[in-house]
Amino acid sequence: MTLLRYLARRAALTVFVVFGVTLITFVLSHVVPADPVIAYLGDHAPPELVEKVRHELGLDKPLPVQYVLYLQGLLHGNLGVSIMDNRPVSRDLAQYLPATVELATAAMLVAVVIGVPTGIVSALYKDRWPDQLARVFALGGTSLPVFYVALLLLGLLYSKLGVLPGPGRLSIYTPPPPHITGMVTVDALLTGDWAALIDALRHLVLPAFVLGYYSAGLITRMTRGSLLEVLRQDYVRTARAKGVPERRVVLRHALRNALLPTVTVIGLTFGSLLSGAVLTETIFSWPGIGRYATNSVTNVDVPAVLGVTLVVALIYSVVNLVVDVLYAYLDPQIRYT
């Protein structure tokens, strides 16, 4: 099967998945014993106001009718109006998604730049002190709770030592660059605002590290295990026997094969990072969709919950697709079936 046919089939599958996801989410949201109207109006609202607003929001219609209306809106690109924000869900997502993309990409970069070399070193120096150190580091990443690491590093590097700035994407006294993509670093780069770019990057360091630490731990362990496995293979022995320098054996022959499982992990981790990281976002005041998703669930804001679920389902589908295609590209033995 050619690449194009494969992509078309996957796209059709994605539509199906997304439809199923919205249905399940819709049903679950209405099973929850909380009232979105009271969540929005507050507990002081008299019963008459609650019923009036319930009607204004269309929430007194029968559930199947509400779902059909939602789907109709969806077909026209209308994701509904967020109850808690009182504005279109699409506007909410357009505001919060770029911040998450920025943070997730930075975190992924940190994870790869730290994780892969550490994994390689760990494999090459197996059981010696660099390996032990790397494994402790990886263990910390996968086991320490993210909010703990975040508060610890903030307390040390910001509060005590002052070498890194505090929460937020920019310092209070830095005027933000004009809004083009919504990602402050990219917008600053595009408009040549170097002061804002430096400030934004400085603010990105800590949250990106905190968020990427878990993935870095995972990637380190995957790379180490995979490389060790590959280094035992016959063709590696043959290459060494041929007199190829060790560095070339590792970097040119072994690594390429060893990285295959790591690529999968990187892809899936990126997908999960893109769906938002509410704890990191809360602590660093990063206005991403993780925080938005949590708020919408707490407030039983059904349009917002559906909107976020839709976006995340789409992100995962696309990421999975990219990983599968990449895998096939890297490993000629894999064919699309």
Binding site: I38, G42, H44, A45, E56, N86, I172
Partner: protein, 533 residues
């Protein structure tokens, strides 16, 4: 060669980092800027007629002026603001406000009675408006607003209430951000899709207050700057107010100690204790206009139908333990329904922790062997910086000591309210806070079941009490009114379904650079009088 290049790039990057300026020169520097670190994620709208959450009403209070106001720190008396004086008719139903001439909006337009009328039109017409009930409860709606609110000339506004309503409550609602006066010419020019300009008001302000909106970025920041056209008073020394959204109180504390924030609102009891020890800061505390209580449904639990049992619960509770140990002092004793700071506050504490008396009362009522009830509590925090779960556990312990077996059911607050409002709770642990600083705002929910508020939710229908509440509501702040509220409190002590636990304190952690800070739960921080070194 490649390595040398890599090294050079690395050095360059580090160099740029080191010399990076913190930002281009701002118009107003740190000396004229106040940064208040708190959680502003609850803000839904900055439209003053719609804003109902703490973060949004705080900001609107600085940007919009009202007919009348409360002097910062004194919530018992209404003072002139946009209205320089007002007359009240003999029957207390017609209010004639005489406006100050020449008040300017931030746009430069002059404030007239037409703007006041437009403000009221917006309140009663805007859909999905959480704050609207503050005005509509007085019988004002979209159909009658033009008869109720009239502007006979540009400097006079006459409001004739369609039904009897407490004059004190009415005036305090006129001081509430929901009636913050908007610049009708500007707002009308920005109406989109019949929204009365509401969407535009989320990113721009159109008021006559001392500050105007620079920007509101949801979940990020609310930023205000001094309104250059403000002429209701002298210009403020502080030119810029920023509320960055800091949801985690540890981070608030970090920002405070680095000097990146001047004030932190939201520190826990233990963090406040640590701040008190730090020479660079002080803690400003004032009683909040709210109270935490345990509600008992008089029908869903047969035992609670007996007033002796309700009294037994009130004797069983260890009030001191809650305030001293659980709250670490972040609350004051309160057993009445009107909090300290309002007219009608009753400092008496008729119930001391007395488990023997409680058991005797239960015996008298025929429940000597105790009984069982479910206590609904939220999964979040209770007022005063403690978790609702901890407070519920304490109540459970106290009641177990007298034979009442309590099952704690912790649920998300939305679920709690849904059950409570549907009259389906057995016992509930909840908090009630002020909407407008008139005793009627508390007496009605707690005492008048016809309002379908708190006592109605607990199915406590007391007609004589409801009549007393209505009568007291219609009075001005006289000794007779105080006597009525004393009577209302006495009835609720002995017979009511509420065990009032404490009145929480609002605590601000403040840098010593900030002087002349005044804060009250209605006006918030008084930015006009504070100064920064």
């Amino acid at each position: 060669m490649r390595r040398a290049l890599a090294g050079l790039v690395a050095i360059l990057l580090v160099g740029v980092w080191a010399v990076a300026p913190s930002g281009s020169a701002p118009v107003y520097g740190p000396q004229q800027t106040i940064v208040v670190a708190r959680d502003i994620s609850d803000a839904v709208s900055l439209d003053p007629q719609v804003a109902y959450e703490f973060a949004s009403t705080t900001a609107d209070h600085q940007m919009y002026s009202n007919l009348v106001a409360f002097a910062p720190g004194d919530l018992t008396k209404v003072v002139p603001q946009v209205a320089k004086s007002w007359d009240v008719s003999a029957d207390g139903r017609t209010f004639t406000f005489h406006l100050r001439p020449g008040i300017k909006f931030s746009s430069g337009n002059t404030l007239t009675s037409a703007d006041v009328v437009y403000t009221f039109e917006r309140v009663v017409n805007l859909p999905k408006d959480p704050a609207s009930w503050l005005v509509t409860q007085m019988g004002i709606d979209a159909k009658n607003v033009h008869e109720v609110v009239r502007a006979p000339d540009p400097l006079t506004v006459v409001i004739t209430l369609p039904k009897p309503f407490s004059p004190g409550a009415f005036l305090s609602i006129m001081a509430n951000p929901v009636t913050g006066i908007v610049d009708s010419k500007t707002v009308k020019a920005h109406v989109q899709h019949d929204d009365w300009g509401s969407a535009w008001l989320n990113d721009h302000s159109a008021g006559s207050g001392p500050y105007q909106l620079v920007k509101w970025e949801r979940l990020v920041t609310i930023e205000l700057v001094a309104n250059p056209r403000y002429n209701l008073g002298p210009p403020p020394a502080i030119k810029r107010i920023i509320w960055p959204n800091i949801m985690e109180n540890t981070v608030q504390r970090d920002m405070l100690s680095r000097g990146d924030a001047d004030i932190a609102m939201g520190l826990s009891a233990s963090q406040l204790a640590a701040v008190k020890q730090d020479q660079r800061f002080y803690v400003y505390q004032t009683p909040d206009l709210s109270m935490t209580y345990v509600g008992m449904d008089v029908k869903n639990v047969p035992a609670f139908a007996k007033p002796e049992v309700r009294r037994a619960v009130k004797y069983a509770i260890d009030y001191d333990g809650i305030i001293r140990q659980l709250l670490a002092g972040n609350g004051i004793p309160l057993q009445g329904i009107i909090p300290k700071g309002l007219f009608g506050y009753d400092p008496s504490l008729p119930f001391k922790h007395d488990p023997q008396k409680a058991k005797a009362l239960l015996q008298e009522a025929g429940y000597g062997n105790g009984f069982t009830a479910d206590l609904l509590a939220s999964t979040g925090s209770a007022a005063g910086g403690i978790s609702a779960g901890d407070l519920a556990a304490k109540i459970k312990n106290d009641l177990a000591a007298v034979g009442i077996h309590v099952n704690i059911r912790q649920v998300a607050s939305d679920e709690l309210y849904k059950t409570y409002r549907a009259q389906k709770a057995q016992m509930v642990l909840a908090n009630w806070s002020v909407d407008y600083p008139d005793p009627d705002d508390f007496a009605k929910p707690f005492g008048d079941y016809t309002q379908k508020s708190l006592c109605w939710r607990l199915q406590y229908y007391n007609d004589p009490l409801a009549k007393l509440v209505e009568e007291a509501g219609g009075m001005q702040n006289t000794p007779q009114r105080a006597a009525l509220y004393k009577k209302i409190n006495d009835i609720l002590y002995q017979d009511g379904p509420f065990a009032i636990l404490y009145q929480p304190l609002v605590s601000l952690a403040v840098s010593k650079r900030i002087k002349h800070l005044v804060f009250d739960p209605v006006n918030g921080i008084d930015f006009l009088s504070l100064t920064k070194q």
